[in-house]
């Protein structure tokens, strides 16, 4: 039971952080380099999950993937199924929930890359695409790694959204945090303690690794630092 939930949670966290890299790199680059006047609106939207209660997100995700919404019907017409109470549904909810934790460090790191280097590369004839891969990404890599680890850790500890859209199915949507909650409510404190301690140690090890690496280099950990 514990191993099943742990494996599921790790699978979810890895998948979500990989997807968030695919979204976070272009979005972070755009946020760091765009001069569009409406950019602040996008920044606000990206940061929403930090301040919104998970219930708000969970509620809207549940409605959106339900059979009554256009998205839910579109998904059903393509796959013949529904995202509610499935692992894929959790992935969708978690990507939204952890979005700022990936995008913000990436955008901050990209923004801190010295502009003169980019100008120099442009005068030497490098395309923006080439400049991104050869200059922005290597110099901003600490921020990318921070974004990856934070979105991974944040997804590990997710609770509210999963509670609202998961349906608590062992092997499919029962994550470690849900299992802990269940065990506490059933007064199985010993088991709850074992799982909680495990999660605590995993999260601590991840963050210790991150901050330890940061000490050795001048890494940007948060957008506001």
């Amino acid at each position: 039971m514990i191993l099943q939930a742990l494996a599921l949670t790790l699978r979810l966290a890895i998948l979500v952080s990989v997807i968030l890299m695919a979204i976070g790199l272009p979005l972070g680059y755009w946020l760091a380099s765009s001069r569009w006047r409406g950019k602040f609106l996008v920044e606000a939207i990206v940061s929403l999950p930090i301040v919104l209660p998970p219930t708000v997100l969970g509620f809207y995700v549940l409605v959106a993937i339900g059979p009554l919404s256009p998205f839910g019907r579109w998904y059903h017409s393509i796959t013949g199924g529904s995202l509610a109470f499935t692992f894929r549904g959790l992935v969708l909810g978690s990507v939204l929930y952890s979005l700022p934790f990936a995008v913000q460090p990436i955008a901050a790191a990209f923004a801190s890359v010295d502009h003169k280097l980019l100008e120099a590369s442009a005068t030497l004839g490098a395309s923006r695409w080439r400049a991104f891969w050869r200059i922005v990404l290597p110099l901003g890599f600490p921020g990318v790694l921070t974004g990856f680890v934070l979105s991974f850790a944040h997804t590990l500890g997710e609770f509210g959204v999963v509670l609202m859209i998961g349906g608590n199915i062992p092997g499919a949507t029962q994550t470690v945090s849900i299992l802990i909650y269940d065990q506490v409510q059933s007064l199985n404190y010993a088991l709850a303690n074992r799982i909680a301690l495990l999660l605590l140690l995993v999260c601590f090890a991840l963050l210790a690794l991150l901050y330890g690496l940061r000490r050795r280099s001048k890494w940007v950990l948060w957008g506001w630092q």
């Binding site: 549940l62 409605v63 993937i65 339900g66 059979p67 009554l68 199924g81 529904s82 509610a84 109470f85 509670l163 349906g167 608590n168 199915i169 269940d182 506490v184 409510q185 059933s186 007064l187």
Partner: protein, 249 residues
């Protein structure tokens, strides 16, 4: 507004009762609480949840005055542990399990009854989590009774409480649900679907009991509200929501 709010709080003379109630009582008890507030001048705050969750909260010292469970076991256990007053323990109603399908469903629960659940078009069946919710346990017992447990176990999704299970099926995310009749008869669900009452021999009786919490400082007011729920007027309201009076001992 704020000034008026402060004024009202000051002028308020009655007592403040904190009540923990099983999720199936969401509508029935709210209605009774409103009437009691007007009649008695006391103020009631209701917290709904799965009986098992409320039980463990009270066990851990949650400051409730009165606990309405969806079964008899949790209040008995609290009384046994000295956390609740054994003398106040009373059964206030019998709960009933129903099979609920949304009105958009092609199946008629009255006709197909439990066989609805084996239809391929029904891919998700919402029930309350049997670990914390008496209605979840009743649903599992009923599935077993009809020999469906293994056939449909892959379709089950578990709500935190019976009201979350109801929400899962009412929102269409699950295509069928085994939920409390008291929720099926609520205004929000009555028009949204149809139900079939699961015969009471299919699951152990849901004798719903209430008990006064030992740490309560408002035991007299709590007893008054409990008496009101047990009164003819209270029973009539409960019955409106499909919560029938318990058989006389």
């Amino acid at each position: 507004m704020l000034i008026i709010g402060v004024f009202v709080t000051r002028a308020f003379a009655g007592e403040q009762l904190a009540i923990a109630a099983a999720a199936d009582l969401n509508y029935a008890l709210s209605e009774l609480a409103n009437r009691f507030e007007i009649a008695s001048g006391n103020k009631l705050t209701l917290s709904f949840g799965a009986s098992g969750n409320l039980y463990s909260q009270i066990q851990s010292g949650a400051p409730f005055d009165l606990f309405f469970s969806a079964d008899e076991d949790y209040p008995k256990k609290l009384a046994g542990a000295g956390v609740a007053d054994a003398s106040s323990l009373s059964i206030y109603s019998l709960g009933h399990l129903v099979l609920w399908l949304p009105s958009s469903s092609p199946f008629d629960p009255q006709k197909l009854q439990m066989e609805s659940l084996t239809q391929p078009a029904i891919t998700r069946i919402a029930i309350a989590n049997p670990q914390h919710a008496p209605y979840g346990r009743a649903a599992m017992a009923a599935l077993e009774h009809y020999g469906l447990k293994d056939k449909v176990s892959g379709k089950l999704v578990f709500g935190e409480s019976v009201s979350q299970a109801a929400q899962f099926v009412q929102s269409g995310n699950a295509q069928a649900g085994l939920i409390a009749m008291s929720l099926a008869k609520s205004p929000a669900m009555e028009l949204a679907g149809r139900f079939w009452v699961v015969p009471s021999d299919a699951y152990p009786e849901l004798k719903q009991a209430a008990v006064i919490v030992s740490v309560s400082k408002h035991k007299k007011a709590a007893q008054e509200f409990l008496d009101f729920v047990l009164s003819t007027e209270g029973a009539a309201t409960l019955r409106k929501y499909g919560l029938t009076p318990p058989a006389k001992p």
